[in-house]
């Protein structure tokens, strides 16, 4: 245990090897920089000294056993943890394009529009498919029917759902299968044209065929979006991510190119987790 808690210090040189965008200077398109981040629920610290840079227009996967803090970190990136009583960042900062997103002046509504999120449990609204995708646009004040029509089609096409639902856009999103519902949620997130898409175990409730579709989708989306995906599925991380970060007990153990992590990890723990010896 003690050795695990000391891991950040050994892990931090690895994160320093990143092509770090220097703080203050204009960063790359929608890159995320997490610096010395501590995070706590009440008095219980769940993330310890996380240092991580997430490159733009690439897929970064967070892996690690349950309770290691990867979802918590993901939810920090669009300040979803604001909703939880007592949850707070106790140290460090998260910068997106060089802007500290926890500064008092930051508009959290605008942040969440730019940093979209797809949840573990697909959560379509009890509305029609069309209204689900149009929701974010209407919230943003778009009223022109033609604009919304266009965006709905574009988003559904991006989410590879258009052909399956184009004839029943006005039936309830609840009538779709589990995989289709999750792709509907992805389409809904894409409709507001975010720069970053966070995905919290998007395939955990899906069958292999639906999973394959979503993974294919993720590979396509990375040409336009910065994607961060939390997954329990090692193969999934291997298949669709460019970079992989391994978390354990609230520490970032190792982050590197996915091929490197899966072929030749620097840390023994990473190797043990990936090969299935624990976790």
């Amino acid at each position: 245990m003690v050795s695990l808690l000391e891991m950040p210090e050994t892990a931090s040189p690895l994160t320093m090897n990143e092509p770090a965008s220097s703080p203050g200077a204009p960063a790359d398109h929608a890159s995320i920089e997490i610096a010395n981040l501590d995070f706590a629920y009440g008095n219980h610290e769940v993330l310890h000294n996380i240092n991580l840079n997430i490159p733009p227009r690439a897929v970064t996967a967070f892996i690690g056993p349950s309770g290691c803090g990867k979802t918590t970190l993901l939810r920090c990136l669009n300040r979803m943890n604001d909703l939880i009583d007592g949850a707070r960042i106790t140290r460090g900062a998260i910068r997106i394009e060089g802007v500290d997103i926890n500064e008092p002046g930051v508009d959290v509504v605008d942040l969440r529009r730019r940093v979209g999120m797809v949840f573990q449990k697909s959560n379509p609204f009890p509305k029609s498919i069309y209204d689900n995708v149009a929701y974010g646009l209407r919230i943003a004040g778009v009223t022109r029917r033609s604009l919304i029509d266009e965006a709905v089609e574009k988003s559904l096409r991006s989410a590879a759902l258009w052909d399956e639902v184009k004839d029943r856009l006005h039936v309830s999103g609840y009538g779709l299968s589990g995989g289709q519902q999750q792709r509907l949620c992805i389409a809904r997130a894409l409709a507001v044209e975010p720069e970053i898409v966070l995905m919290d175990e998007p395939c955990s409730a899906l069958d292999p065929i639906a999973t394959a579709k979503v993974e294919e989708l993720i590979r396509q989306l990375k040409t336009q979006y910065t994607i961060v995906i939390v997954t329990h599925n090692m193969q999934q991380a291997g298949r669709c991510s460019d970079r992989t970060a391994f978390f354990y007990l609230g520490n970032l153990i190792e982050v590197d190119d996915t091929t490197k992590i899966f072929s030749n990890p620097a840390q023994r723990q990473t190797e043990e987790y990936i090969t299935g010896r624990f976790g």
């Binding site: 959560n123 009890p126 997130a189």
Partner: protein, 368 residues
């Protein structure tokens, strides 16, 4: 009893069967009195619980049959249209009972005056029975006005505070105090609400006995139920819908308005309809604040528009109270007592039925 075989088995065998025998050994012959006592106890408790359960049925049957039969005589007629429309559409009148040429006459106020003009010079020795002729139309209208006003008030305040409690507030000492206050408010007897309304609205605010004083008193009374029901309905909306909406760049209020409240509304409204039944039924809160025993004008017959909310009204429960306890009872008063109770019961059942239908319909429409 089917275990008798097992009991007579010789001891021994494996551990489980021996424990089986030991457990039942006390029921062997020689302990038969104990066994009989146990059986009697079983039968007694069974019948005690069963009778207690059926007692409810008997009580309900007696109440409904009594009101149904006696009230039905007033409300229904043997001739078409089979419903006693004057009883439902006319104001109460004084009944005059007198003997004329050997016949016993029972005439309402208006008919009595017509009769007198038709028989000039005759001054019958009539005894009068208050409110026992005519109908209960102003009471129905008054109750409807009281219910609508107080429910609008209670829903606006109740839903607003439920939204605050469920969506905005963080659990602190102040919020716990608010919850204690809601619980306490729910436990206050209705007569205390009546006296409170009388003291604050009628006297201190100088609203006199009026609709608005009744609205506030009844609204306050039903507020805890509305807040509790609304908060439950709001909490029943899955957190995923809130997060999904917020993650799309919706503000908190946009999320509540577009993606939480619409789904909680059926639940809020159905439970509120049960609140309506309570508001419509209470006598104590309105007897000092809003209800008149008798009023000749209908509520819309006011001189100025602004007078509307500052007028007292007749109300069904108060009318039942008045005709049942404030005037001398005789064979002529029963008609209006049971008739009013019948109509009242019917209206409350109608409201409850609406609530059930609404709930079933909204349940089938919304599911997650």
């Amino acid at each position: 009893m089917t275990n008798d075989e097992g009991m007579t088995k010789p001891e021994g065998g494996d551990a489980s069967s021996s424990s089986f025998v030991i457990r039942h050994s006390s029921f062997r012959p020689g302990h038969s009195s104990l066994r009989r006592r146990g059986r009697v106890l079983e039968r007694t408790t069974f019948w005690l619980f069963r009778l207690a359960t059926y007692f409810v049925l008997i009580a309900a049957a007696i109440i409904f049959l009594d009101i149904g039969i006696k009230g039905g005589r007033t409300v229904f007629t043997s001739k078409p249209p089979f419903i006693n429309l004057p009883f439902l559409t006319e104001p109460p009148q004084t009944l005059y009972v007198f003997e004329f040429e050997g016949k016993k006459m029972a005439l309402g106020d208006r008919e009595f005056r017509q009769w007198k003009t038709a028989h000039p010079g005759i001054e019958p020795d009539a005894s009068s029975v208050a409110y026992s002729a005519g109908g209960i139309w102003p009471c129905i209208v008054g109750t409807a006005l009281l219910v609508i006003g107080s429910m609008v008030l209670a829903l606006v305040i109740g839903i607003s505070s439920a939204i605050y409690l469920s969506e905005y507030s963080r659990n602190g000492p102040l919020i716990r105090l608010v919850r204690v206050a809601i619980l306490n408010l729910a436990g206050v007897p209705s007569i205390v609400f009546g006296l409170f309304g009388f003291g604050l609205f009628v006297i201190f605010f100088g609203w006199n006995v009026s609709l608005i004083a009744g609205w506030f008193t009844l609204g306050l009374m039903v507020l805890p139920a509305i807040i509790t029901a609304s908060e439950e309905s709001l909490r029943a909306v899955p957190q995923g819908l809130r997060e999904g909406s917020l993650a799309l760049g919706a503000s908190k209020w946009q999320t509540i308005r577009k993606n939480v409240l619409p789904y909680a509304m059926p639940g809020i409204l159905t439970s509120s309809i049960l609140g309506i039944a309570r508001v419509a039924g209470e006598t104590a809160p309105i007897m000092f604040t809003a209800a008149y025993a008798m009023k000749d004008e209908m509520p819309w017959q006011v001189a100025k528009f602004t007078d509307f909310v500052f007028q007292g009204v007749m109300a069904l429960p108060y009318h039942i109270y008045v005709v049942s306890s404030k005037i001398p009872q005789n064979e002529y008063t029963e008609r209006v007592q049971y008739g009013a109770a019948f109509v009242f019961l019917f209206l409350v059942m109608l409201i409850a039925l609406t609530s059930i239908v609404l709930r079933e319909r909204s349940r089938s429409r919304l599911s997650w």
